[in-house]
C-alpha cells in the first residue's frame, strides 16, 4: 500500500506544483492586464511604452532584411523588392488622342490628320499588354506587399530557410505573438465589449437628456479606447483643429471595419450601417440605446431616398454628432482611394474629410472579405505586432456653385488621396465583385472615332 501511495504522491506532485504556479501565473497576468491595459483605457490615461516597442521592432526588421539580402547575394540573386522594381515601367497616363498623335509623329507625319492609319492599333495593343502584365485595379483588392519582411509568415512572399538565427527569431516572434500578445488582447477586447454593452444600456435608461448625452459620450469613448488597446493600436492624429463638427458628415477612405474604431477613438460620431444579427447586432442595439446611430434593416438599405432622408434629418439636428460615412462602399487595401459613391454628397451639408493611412510594416489592416470572415480577420489583427496608423483631419469642404454631386465627391476624394499619399483612382471599388459598365468601352470607341473623323466632322455626324 505504501508503495502505491508513494507513486500516487509522485504523480500528483507535478499537478500540484502546476496548479500552484498556474494560479500564481494567472493572478500576475490578470493584474498586468487590468493594471496596464484596461484601467488606463477606461480612464483615458496613455501608457507610453509604444514608442520603444515600435523602435525595437523596426530595428529587428531591418536586421531581418539585411540577413535576407546577404543570403540572396550569396546565391547571386536579387532580392525582389516590390516597389523599386515593377515588372514594367509604365508610360505615364495620357489621353488616347495624345498617344495616337505621338505614334503617328514618330512614324513621320507632322499633324494629326483625320484619317485612318493602320498603325493606330499599336496604341490599343500596348495599353492592353500593360494592363495584362500589371493593371492598376486588381492589386487594390489584396494585401499590399511589403519591401522588408516583418517576421509574419503571412507577409513573406519569398519564404525560404535563410539561416538559423532568423528561424530562431521567427519562432520567438510566433511565441510572443500567439502566447503573450494574443491572450492579452483577447482579454481586453472581451472585457471592453462587455463593459461597453452593459454601460451603454444602463446609460440609455437615464431620463435626463443632457446627462445621458454626456455619459454616453464617455461610455462610447471608453469602449473605443479599449478596442484600440486590444489591437495594440498606435494612432497619430494630425490637424486636430479640423475635427468634424455637429453640422456635417465625416468621410474617410475605407480599409477595414476597424476604420470606424480608429476615428471614433478621438471624437464621437454617429455611425450608419446595416443592422446585423448575432454578437455584432447585440453591440449595435446596445449602442443605439444611448446615442442616435442609424442602423438600417436590410430591406431599408435599398431604399436610397429613405436613407438620404434620415441622414438629412440627423445632420439638421445640432445636438447630434457628425455622421461617419465611408463612400467607397467596400474595403480596399490602403494603397489607393477608389470611386466615392455620390449619395452622401447629395445631402448638401458640410463634408469633413479624413484620411487614414495604415503602416503595413507592423500588421496589415486590410480586410480581404473574400478570403477571411470577420472573426478570422480579427484574430489575424490580434496576432500581428501592432496596428499603426495616421489620421489626418482635412479642412471642411462644401459643394461649389455649379458643381454636381459626383464632381464634389471627386474633389473630396482627390484631397483625401493627396493627404494620405494614396493613388487616386476613378474605378469603382465594387468592381471586385462586378463587371465594368459598357459605357467605359463605348467611351474609348467614341474617342477613337473622333480621331478618325476629326473633331469638326464628328460633330456633324448623325
Amino acid at each position: 500500500v505504501s508503495f502505491y501511495t508513494k507513486i500516487m504522491s509522485w504523480l500528483t506532485l507535478p499537478v500540484d506544483l502546476l496548479s500552484k504556479y498556474l494560479g500564481l501565473f494567472t493572478d500576475v497576468w490578470l493584474t498586468l492586464v487590468f493594471g496596464f491595459l484596461i484601467v488606463p483605457a477606461v480612464f483615458g490615461v496613455p501608457f507610453g511604452i509604444h514608442k520603444y516597442y515600435i523602435k525595437i521592432l523596426l530595428s529587428i526588421f531591418e536586421w531581418t532584411t539585411l540577413q535576407m539580402e546577404l543570403k540572396a547575394k550569396e546565391k547571386n540573386n536579387q532580392l525582389y523588392k516590390h516597389y523599386t522594381s515593377g515588372i514594367i515601367v509604365k508610360v505615364p497616363d495620357s489621353t488616347l488622342k495624345q498617344e495616337i498623335q505621338d505614334l503617328r509623329c514618330s512614324a513621320g507625319c507632322l499633324s494629326l490628320d483625320p484619317r485612318l492609319e493602320l498603325a493606330d492599333v499599336f496604341v490599343f495593343c500596348r495599353k492592353a499588354l500593360e494592363n495584362i502584365i500589371d493593371d492598376d485595379v486588381t492589386k487594390r483588392f489584396s494585401a499590399q506587399k511589403l519591401e522588408n519582411w516583418n517576421l509574419l509568415t503571412r507577409s513573406n512572399h519569398n519564404f525560404r530557410y535563410i539561416n538559423l538565427q532568423l528561424l530562431a527569431l521567427w519562432i520567438l516572434g510566433v511565441l510572443i505573438r500567439y502566447g503573450v500578445l494574443l491572450p492579452f488582447r483577447v482579454t481586453v477586447a472581451v472585457t471592453g465589449i462587455f463593459l461597453f454593452v452593459v454601460l451603454s444600456t444602463v446609460v440609455g435608461l437615464i431620463p435626463c437628456t443632457k446627462l445621458r448625452t454626456y455619459l454616453s459620450d464617455k461610455v462610447h469613448l471608453m469602449g473605443y479606447r479599449l478596442c484600440v488597446r486590444s489591437l495594440t493600436g498606435i494612432i497619430t492624429y494630425h490637424n486636430r483643429e479640423n475635427k468634424p463638427k455637429n453640422d456635417g458628415i465625416c468621410v474617410a477612405n475605407h480599409t477595414t471595419p476597424i476604420d470606424g474604431i480608429v476615428l471614433a477613438n478621438d471624437h464621437c460620431y454617429s455611425l450608419v450601417g446595416q443592422l446585423h444579427g448575432g454578437l455584432l447586432g447585440l453591440i449595435q442595439r446596445a449602442m443605439v440605446k444611448s446615442s442616435p446611430h442609424m442602423w438600417f434593416e436590410r430591406a431599408e438599405v435599398k431604399d436610397r431616398r429613405l436613407v438620404a432622408k434620415r441622414l438629412r434629418d440627423h445632420v439638421a439636428d445640432e445636438n447630434k454628432h457628425p455622421v461617419l460615412i465611408f463612400p467607397e462602399g467596400t474595403c480596399v487595401n490602403n494603397t489607393s482611394v477608389m470611386m466615392f459613391r455620390k449619395g452622401s454628397f447629395e445631402i448638401g451639408c458640410t463634408v469633413y474629410p479624413a484620411a487614414i493611412k495604415y503602416d503595413p510594416r507592423f500588421g496589415d489592416a486590410f480586410w480581404n472579405s473574400s478570403k477571411f470572415g470577420l472573426v478570422g480577420y480579427l484574430l489575424r489583427m490580434m496576432s500581428s505586432w501592432a496596428i499603426v496608423c495616421s489620421v489626418w483631419y482635412l479642412p471642411p469642404m462644401n459643394r461649389k456653385e455649379g458643381e454636381d454631386a459626383m464632381q464634389f465627391a471627386n474633389r473630396v476624394k482627390a484631397a483625401i488621396a493627396a493627404q494620405g499619399g494614396l493613388v487616386d483612382l476613378i474605378w469603382d471599388a465594387g468592381l471586385k465583385r462586378t463587371k465594368v459598365k459598357d459605357t467605359f468601352k463605348e467611351e474609348q470607341q467614341q474617342l477613337y472615332s473622333k480621331i478618325l473623323l476629326g473633331d469638326h466632322e464628328y460633330q456633324n455626324h448623325p
Binding site: N76, N77, I87, A119, R126, L129, Q445, Y448, K450
Partner: protein, 178 residues
C-alpha cells in the same frame, strides 16, 4: 514605333548578369500568370482576362487574346503567354511588333488582311460612332492606297510599307534596359 514597346522595370543589376535578369522577369510574369488564372486551371481563358477592369474598356482585347492563342484551343497556357508578352518587349525587334499589329487585323490568320477583316476590326474600335457606310468607305480607301500588287488585300510587306516604318539604322539602337 519606339513608343509602343514595353520597358522592363529597373533591377539595379550589373550589365553582365543578363540571364539572371531575364530569369527574374520570367519568374515575375509567372506570378502574374498565376494571379490571373482565377480557377487555377493552368491556362487563361477570356474570362480571366476580362476580370481586369482596365482591359474591359479596351476594344481590341479579344483580338489580342486570339493572337496569343497560337494553337487555337481557346486558352492561353504559360508558354503562349510568355511568347505573346515578349513580342512587345523592348528587347524584341521591329519585325516582331509589326507582325503583332498585322495579326490584329488578320483574323483568319491566312497571311493577308482582307477588306472584310479590316472592316471587322475597325468596327470594334469605333463601335456605333460611325455608320457602316462611312466606315466601309474608309476601309476601301485604305486598301486601295496600301495594295501595291493589286490583289485586293494587304500582305505583310505592304503593311510594313504603309505603317511608315523604315528599318532603323544600327547607330540609333535603343538601350535595352532602362
Amino acid at each position: 514605333m519606339t513608343r509602343c514597346w514595353l520597358r522592363p522595370g529597373r533591377t539595379d543589376m550589373e550589365s553582365g548578369q543578363k540571364n539572371a535578369e531575364e530569369g527574374g522577369e520570367i519568374r515575375r510574369l509567372g506570378k502574374r500568370f498565376r494571379k490571373l488564372d482565377l480557377d487555377g486551371s493552368g491556362s487563361l481563358r477570356v474570362d480571366d482576362f476580362m476580370s481586369l477592369p482596365e482591359l474591359q474598356q479596351n476594344p481590341l482585347v479579344r483580338r489580342i487574346i486570339d493572337i496569343f492563342d497560337t494553337d487555337g484551343n481557346g486558352e492561353i497556357d504559360f508558354i503562349e503567354f510568355i511568347r505573346g508578352v515578349s513580342q512587345f518587349s523592348i528587347r524584341g525587334n521591329q519585325q516582331q511588333k509589326l507582325n503583332f499589329a498585322f495579326r490584329v487585323y488578320d483574323v483568319d490568320k491566312d497571311g493577308f488582311i482582307s477588306n472584310g477583316e479590316l472592316f471587322q476590326v475597325l468596327k470594334a474600335m469605333v463601335g456605333s460612332n460611325l455608320q457602316d457606310a462611312a466606315l466601309q468607305q474608309a476601309v476601301d480607301k485604305t486598301i486601295l492606297s496600301a495594295d501595291r500588287d493589286g490583289d485586293g488585300r494587304i500582305s505583310f510587306h505592304e503593311f510594313c510599307t504603309v505603317s511608315g516604318s523604315a528599318p532603323e539604322p544600327a547607330a540609333s539602337a535603343e538601350p535595352t534596359v532602362l
